[in-house]
């Protein structure tokens, strides 16, 4: 499951990841303290791509339309829960996705490849 701190996401491409400056433990940027070693220093990076681990579709959840949700594993080792951009038929388990964030919401859309 994805880490804590979704509220601290910045608008724009990608998802902000915080890596502990002491022990390198990665997490979604949010609470300043590292859950692994309790140090407060962190280095922030932005993840743009990931692999869709699994997903589901919830009929009628998004203004009476279907809401797609999926867990995305990023290359930094952090798992993120993202909303899937319709049409949802484009997604399968293990498909590469691109990540964006807007107003605290993480969005995923299909990507041709997770490699730069």
């Amino acid at each position: 499951m994805s880490a804590l701190g979704g509220k601290d996401l910045k608008d724009g491409d990608g998802v902000v990841i915080a890596t502990c400056s002491s022990c390198d433990y990665p997490r979604i940027a949010g609470p300043a303290v590292c859950p692994a070693c309790l140090v407060e220093g962190e280095i922030r990076t932005v993840e743009h791509v990931g692999t869709l681990y699994s997903y589901t579709l919830l009929p009628g959840r998004e203004d009476d339309e279907t809401l797609g949700l999926g867990y995305v594993d990023t290359s930094s080792g952090v798992r993120v829960l993202a909303r899937l951009e319709p049409p949802h038929s484009r997604f399968t388990c293990d498909s590469p996705v691109r990540l964006a964030s807007s107003g605290g919401v993480v969005l995923a859309q299909p990507a041709a490849s997770t490699h730069a």
């Binding site: 979704g6 509220k7 681990y53 589901t56 579709l57 959840r61 949700l69 999926g70 594993d73």
Partner: protein, 380 residues
């Protein structure tokens, strides 16, 4: 630690009772347990109440109308494992010698929430993205189907079994068998789960009288021993987790088996946490009732049905009997105790001597589950 023995059980049938107060829902179960144990209220030295959604002082509110007060009353909240947690705490108290006779009960009135999925913490990172419990389990299911080449209909068969068992349980919320076609054609909730693959919301209560072994002998020789009461919490992670391997249950099961000195083949009957169809399959594997990836085959072979090698959820489970969240743990224990006492009528598992009850709780970002309580019971 001193042995704890269950000497009385009580429950109310599960259903929707919006006009019934929480206390009126709970205390009949307590009274039945006291009567079943053959003890007076005054013999109870302390009480533990499990409830997830009932607000402050649920235990005191349930017990006051039947004149039980002035004793230590502890309220336990661990989501769906609330009353199983309550039992764990009572077992520890008895084991330490702090009390000789304890009341444990669970109560939940979900009808007051008005239907729909359980409300989760809006500050949770995943909930903020739109996650609810059906969605979480649905993603486990999709990954499991993907990894092992199974179909959604394989999940539906779990619901068919649950309803077949529940049809034999007069206290079940959903009575009557259903066909696989009916399961698969019911309304889609969270793909691949259709409505009948999700546990219903309802109201319910269950109670246990638990005593030290020496105290128990004053009242009965038919008590059921608690061989193991295992409680743990999930391990949080920010990263990858195999959602088809329920880590808190795997870890809890291993610990419980080791402490009891037994293995999966020693379990005669089990009540496990089948909140959604995939859950039952994953837990077959977690408890060693099936090999990794072999849960569907075990289900289809009849091994986990009544009459099979290891009947799972003879009560109908959460899918059919119902899932009044905080009361579920105690309800599972009531079923196992009565199975071991030979009191389950048409759904009786013949010759059952060792039973297992399993309740997990909570949807929180970063966890498999927040809590897991496992009890292994033995016929005395």
């Amino acid at each position: 630690m001193r042995e704890a023995v269950i000497i009385g059980t009580g429950m109310v049938p599960i259903g929707k009772r919006p006009e019934t107060s929480l206390s009126a829902l709970g205390y009949p179960a307590v009274l039945e347990a006291l009567k079943d144990a053959g003890i007076e209220r005054s013999e109870v030295e302390a009480a533990w109440c499990g409830s997830a959604m009932s607000g402050m002082m649920a235990g005191q509110r349930v017990l006051a109308p039947i004149g039980m007060s002035g004793i230590p009353i502890v309220n336990c909240e661990n989501a769906c494992s609330s009353s199983a947690t309550a039992l764990n705490q009572a077992v520890l108290a008895i084991g330490s010698g702090a009390v000789d006779v304890a009341l444990v009960f669970g109560v939940e009135k979900l009808s007051r929430l008005g239907g729909g999925t359980l409300p989760l913490d809006p500050d949770d990172a995943d909930v903020a993205q739109g996650l609810n419990m059906p969605a979480l389990y649905a993603m486990r299911a999709r990954r499991y189907l993907h990894d092992h080449g199974h179909s959604p209909a394989d999940l539906g068969e779990v619901a068919v079994k649950a309803r077949r068992h529940g049809a034999l349980n007069p206290d079940a919320q959903l009575k009557g068998e259903v066909s696989l076609e009916a399961v698969m054609s019911s309304r889609m909730i969270a793909d691949p789960f259709t409505l009948f693959q999700c546990c219903p919301t309802g109201d319910g209560a269950a109670a246990l009288i638990v005593a030290s072994a020496s105290a128990a002998r004053k009242w009965t020789s038919a008590g059921v021993s608690i061989a193991v009461s295992e409680l743990t919490s999930g391990r949080w992670t920010s990263g990858f987790r195999d959602m088809t391997i329920p880590e808190v249950t795997v870890r809890g099961a291993a610990e419980a088996y080791e402490r009891a000195g037994i293995g999966p083949s020693d379990i005669d009957v089990a009540e496990i946490h089948d909140a959604f169809t995939i859950a039952e399959l994953l837990y077959y594997e977690a408890f060693g009732f099936a090999a990794r990836g072999g849960a569907v085959a075990a289900l289809r072979s009849g091994a986990t049905s009544l009459g099979g090698r290891i009947p799972v959820n003879p009560s109908g489970g959460l899918l059919s009997k119902g899932h009044p969240v905080g009361a579920t743990g105690a309800l599972q224990i009531v079923e196992i105790v009565r199975q071991l006492q030979g009191r389950c009528g048409a759904r009786q598992v013949e010759g059952a001597r060792v039973g297992l009850a399993h309740a997990t709780g909570g949807g929180i970002a970063g966890f498999d589950h927040g809590a897991c309580a496992i009890h292994i019971l033995r016929r005395s």
